[in-house]
Symmetry: C2
Subunit: 191 residues, 2 copies
Amino acid sequence: MLSKEELIKQTAKELFFSKGYLHATTQEIADAAGVNRSLINYYFRSRDLLFQTVYREAVDGLKLQLDKVLYDKIPFKEKLNLFIDVYMKELMKYPYRESFLITEICSKNFALKEKKKSAALAHFLQEIAQEMEKGTIKKGEPIQFMFNLFALMAFPVIMTPLYQKLLDISKEKYNKLIADRKQIILESIFN
Amino acid sequence: MLSKEELIKQTAKELFFSKGYLHATTQEIADAAGVNRSLINYYFRSRDLLFQTVYREAVDGLKLQLDKVLYDKIPFKEKLNLFIDVYMKELMKYPYRESFLITEICSKNFALKEKKKSAALAHFLQEIAQEMEKGTIKKGEPIQFMFNLFALMAFPVIMTPLYQKLLDISKEKYNKLIADRKQIILESIFN
DNA sequence: TTGGCGTTTAACAATTTTGTTAAACAAAAA
DNA sequence: TTTTTGTTTAACAAAATTGTTAAACGCCAA
């Protein structure tokens, strides 16, 4: 069973990352979690600190996720296959996690920090450079390859509600389109 | 010279779309515009209506932008070249416009509407299908082609603050990377 | 000049949101 | 049993945000 503190955090993440409800008040979070609002202040002191905690855990989680897959000593193509699978599953669960992070960074009282490149990422960039040499993938800046990869995975998921509107597509059909993307991404990436 | 009403709207767009400051209060918008806060109520009645107005104009603007380029009777490759140019310029000016739209759609009191596919978009999808037949571009679902296109353009721009942090890249270098993307996108799209 | 009209402002009121405090509660330790 | 500790709650207080009103202002036309 979840501690109330954990419950509050998970509920906040649910609201932010899954529902894209970035304006959530402490009352709304408390209601969604089924706890008294004062508990938020008891465990996190202030709304701001709750947000900071959620932000930090999201960034750490993102890094951890990268580390786990990108360090593996498996063939490149296999690794990408696995990575896309893992990352897109996460995207389905938390489509707005990246949006939340960006919004927080852009918000008024945001304290910069970070500033140490993920080691796994650096390693992966090297691996990409090697594969470019080998000719498995198109030559170019490895970072641009990563940009492409993440863009192709994340953007259509993030844009779901708007694209559904603009294209007048049913939820089911849209889900199908997203599900098909893994293969499409792989095809568009490899020579 | 801009009317105050227009000034308020433009300033709000500046805060939302350019600065990604989606939590802006009416006071902050008024300050940024250099007008008395009451003017917002005078011209827009309520904060909510200001947001709705900005939302609507953003969607309409987006559609208009698509219409202008996508209806042109110019060769496909040329059209895409032009389109990427136009859209990415807009993205540089308003990197968070799409984020704002998504956040609004996900927000509590959002009234659905829309539900008529842009004619230009439908036309463009047909054109894509034709080009697939011709073999100019890889065969597949035309919508997926569009997903890819928009993702490759928008996502790295939207993610700028986070990626700059995670990759520990200077603003200048990041801008260079973004500038290079037009060519990269064109290459990754055509056979 | 005066009266009317749209604009702008400050002052106020109402509401919403957040933070604090003290008391109630429950379970384990003394 | 009483104490202690940590948890939970309701009531209150403070702050922030939004909305309203009436008066002031400026400008043009009568």
